[in-house]
Assembly symmetry: C2
Homo-oligomer: 107 residues x 2
């Protein structure tokens, strides 16, 4: 799987998004066409996230286990792998050992 090592030609917000007492930290990135993504890290934890817009989570480094909405089994995702979450939904993500680095694509 190919890894997206950097996002080019963007503006990055200098203030981070800090969730769950810092177990998840991200920075928002805006492309020239107005598209927004975020780059972030989840530290070892099990967290429950709600989505507004649909999201595609792309793994940059580390791995996570995910329980998607309506799923009964956890799935594991490693570097270069992606998973999709519908809008207005909730999913569980579990990170063990090393931090999980991701790009979040919206919409």
């Amino acid at each position: 799987m190919s890894i997206t090592a950097q996002l080019d030609g963007v503006a990055v917000s200098t203030q981070a998004n800090v969730y769950f007492d810092g177990r998840c930290v991200s920075h928002t990135v805006t492309f020239a066409d107005g598209t927004r993504k975020s780059v972030g890290v989840i530290l070892p934890a099990q967290l429950s996230f709600g989505t507004g817009a649909p999201e595609i989570m792309e793994t940059v480094a580390g791995s996570c286990s995910v329980l998607l909405p309506g799923a009964s089994e956890w799935q594991t995702f490693g570097p270069g792998e992606k998973f999709s979450v519908p809008g207005n939904a909730r999913f569980e993500i579990r990170v063990e050992g090393e931090p999980y680095h991701y790009i979040c694509h919206f919409g």
Copy 2:
């Protein structure tokens, strides 16, 4: 003091720099001319950082107390304020309450 809300026309590394078990998380930003900076967050903690190149730390949100190399008194920095650290030096930084958001300028 004016706040730098975003950095424009940059490339952002998608893998974060994670220090001190995640008490400090940053992403590296590269400008078209090759200049590198980082945007990061320090969660409540007292941390000791070593510099390679000289650094200018610019506060985006939150505040911190800093003991600069050779100083005997802590100084406090809030949004829009900056402090400089020489290269190959060590400084102490203490964050209490809310996360401290910063831009680190090198060189």
